[in-house]
């Protein structure tokens, strides 16, 4: 069974939770920029959390399905509809073969993630269905979707069947995921950071600027990273560094002093000093940054960052149990 992309919009890609375990081959993580949003959407439609979905940038997507499917979405400030009926984020809904799902974004450069029951069943490459746009492999032919693309859909899980029966009358679920999971866009872009390996190579005034001054997201940002404009963060130690690992969330500072917040398509290594890292639970906010957005940083302890991630994982486990109980 298939999904038909009538209109692909600006940048829509097939993504799952990324390609893990191949950094020694120079392979980027790729995957949904907000993996948690995709996991929530997958849970809502009864998919395994590793199922592939769609990542939209800006929007103007229109799609149809060959057979009736459950759909759900999370992410930025999008207007998603099934025919004319609005579908709020974090709800599961049935999309019949005669209906059309559309997603439009009133503001540029925000992102959203759509899950379809059964998942997008493109062949996995190196253990993942994510699109590696730079090296042009994975996802749908290693590229962004185009108008007229046809995507294979997988088989429904038994949980998806149960949810499908449950929604037969109402069509849209009354229940929903927690709003702060599905609408990270409503959170102010105030990102928690921990100190990076090269924090001490920066002077106190750079530390102060990083946590007290606002930064503006520059238009030349993409899935590799968000370039930030604001006070220049100049390292005291300007020696050339041996390249070492970088990862999504790394705040690296090139010689021009303007930090780059790395995202999932970033290279595996880099030679610029790493002043700080955005913590994992706040990457959902980083994934929604648009050109022109004002972003601020505040420092938290490493143990606190990891504790908040564990709390979220526990809540997510409960959420999945809740979906199972409601469906069966």
């Amino acid at each position: 069974m298939k999904a038909f992309i009538t209109r692909a919009g600006f940048l829509a890609t097939v993504q799952d939770l990324g390609r893990i375990g191949l950094r020694d081959q120079g392979v980027a993580v790729s995957g949904a920029l907000d993996p948690f949003a995709l996991r929530v959407a997958n849970a809502l439609v009864g998919n395994d959390q590793h199922a592939a979905g769609l990542e939209l940038t800006v929007g103007h997507l229109a799609l149809n399905v060959e057979d009736e499917r459950i759909v759900a979405w999370c992410g930025g400030d999008f207007d998603v509809r099934i025919d004319d009926a609005p579908l709020p984020p974090g709800h599961a809904a049935l999309l019949s073969a005669t209906q059309q799902l559309t997603a439009t974004a009133p503001q540029p450069s925000s992102r959203a993630w759509i899950a379809i029951s059964g998942g997008i069943d493109v062949p996995p490459v190196l253990g993942s269905r994510s699109t590696d746009l730079r090296a042009a492999f994975g996802g749908h032919s290693g590229r962004a979707l185009r108008d007229g693309d046809v995507l294979p859909l997988g088989e429904l899980s038994s949980l998806a069947h149960a949810i499908w029966h449950n929604l037969a009358a109402a069509r849209v679920s009354a229940w929903a995921a927690q709003p702060h999971w599905t609408q990270a866009a409503t959170r102010p872009p105030f990102l928690a950071i921990v100190r990076g390996p090269d924090w001490n190579d920066f002077p106190t005034r750079a530390h102060d600027a990083l946590v007290h001054e606002p930064f503006t997201v520059s238009p030349d940002s993409n899935r590799m990273g968000a370039r930030l404009r604001g006070p220049r963060l100049e390292a005291t130690d300007r020696r050339e560094r041996v390249s070492e690992a970088v990862t999504p969330g790394t705040l690296q500072v090139p010689p021009d002093g303007h930090p780059i917040l790395l995202l999932n398509d970033c290279q595996t290594i880099g030679g610029y000093p790493k002043i700080a890292h955005v913590i994992s639970v706040d990457l959902c906010v980083a994934a929604l940054l648009r050109a022109g957005d004002i972003v601020r940083f505040h420092e938290v302890a490493l143990a606190q960052a990891q504790a908040s991630l564990r709390v979220r994982e526990e809540e997510f486990a409960m959420f999945r149990v809740g979906i199972e109980l409601r469906a069966r």
Partner: protein
């Protein structure tokens, strides 16, 4: 050995300060640490990747526990003295066509080195190289061992399009672009070999620690080998 957190989901083990004065010893030490960490099979570690002088570990904090606890596990893994395994590095020969049509920056490299293009090719293809790291793009090898005479700074304006297979010089290193991509290194030739094949379980042709030799081939050989 310095062990530093890289955000809340990764840790970097800094094995040495520098690799340039002895790249072979550096990669040996780094790969030894990687072997120790892999052998320890620490629960929750999703990826272990070497780079020049470091080994990075990536983990899921919800499964692997706090950084502090992980650092302790890493330290005890590194304290285990492993029987010295002589790692016999592979030597891989990479055919390169240095003809002008594939070597858009050979003249500039020659001018910078105050040598003839033929002399640059001779030096480049005679040296013995070592893969110090993979990165920049999937399968891109950073090769140490470039003769000092032909070291050339990166181009001030990177090219927007470097073809797949381009062999290039960037500072004291040489490398091969596996994919068509933007790039700032000086292109001196092209290989018909495929450097990265996503259909293989180990997709990169060259691995960290491999020895590499370039063999100069004619345009006809290049076309025949590219298939």
């Amino acid at each position: 050995m310095q062990i530093v957190p890289l955000g809340d989901a990764a840790i970097v083990v800094r094995v040495l300060d520098d690799f340039k004065h002895d790249p072979a010893r550096a990669i040996d030490a780094v790969l030894h640490v990687r072997a120790q960490l892999c052998a320890a099979a620490i629960d929750g570690i999703a990826d272990i990747a070497p780079a020049y002088t470091t080994v990075a570990l990536f983990f899921d904090p919800a499964r692997a526990g706090d950084t502090e606890a992980l650092v302790a596990k890493i330290r005890s893994a590194l304290a285990v003295v492993r029987r010295a395994v002589t790692i016999r590095p592979r030597t891989i020969e990479v055919p390169v066509c240095y003809d002008a049509e594939f070597a858009s920056d050979l003249a500039e490299v020659a001018t910078h080195a105050r040598l003839s293009p033929a002399e640059v090719v001779r030096l480049h293809s005679r040296a013995k190289y070592l893969v110090s790291c993979l990165g920049f793009s999937p399968g891109f090898p950073y090769l140490s061992g470039l003769p000092r005479e032909i070291a050339t700074p990166r181009r001030s304006t990177p090219r927007t399009r470097v073809p797949a297979g381009a062999v290039a010089i960037g500072g004291r290193q040489t490398g091969i672009y596996p994919h068509e991509s933007p790039g700032g290194w000086n292109i001196v030739g092209r290989t018909p070999l495929r450097l990265f094949d996503p259909g293989q379980a180990q997709p990169a042709l060259l691995q960290a620690g491999d020895n590499v030799r370039f063999r100069s081939i004619t345009r006809e050989e290049f076309i025949a080998q590219r298939g």
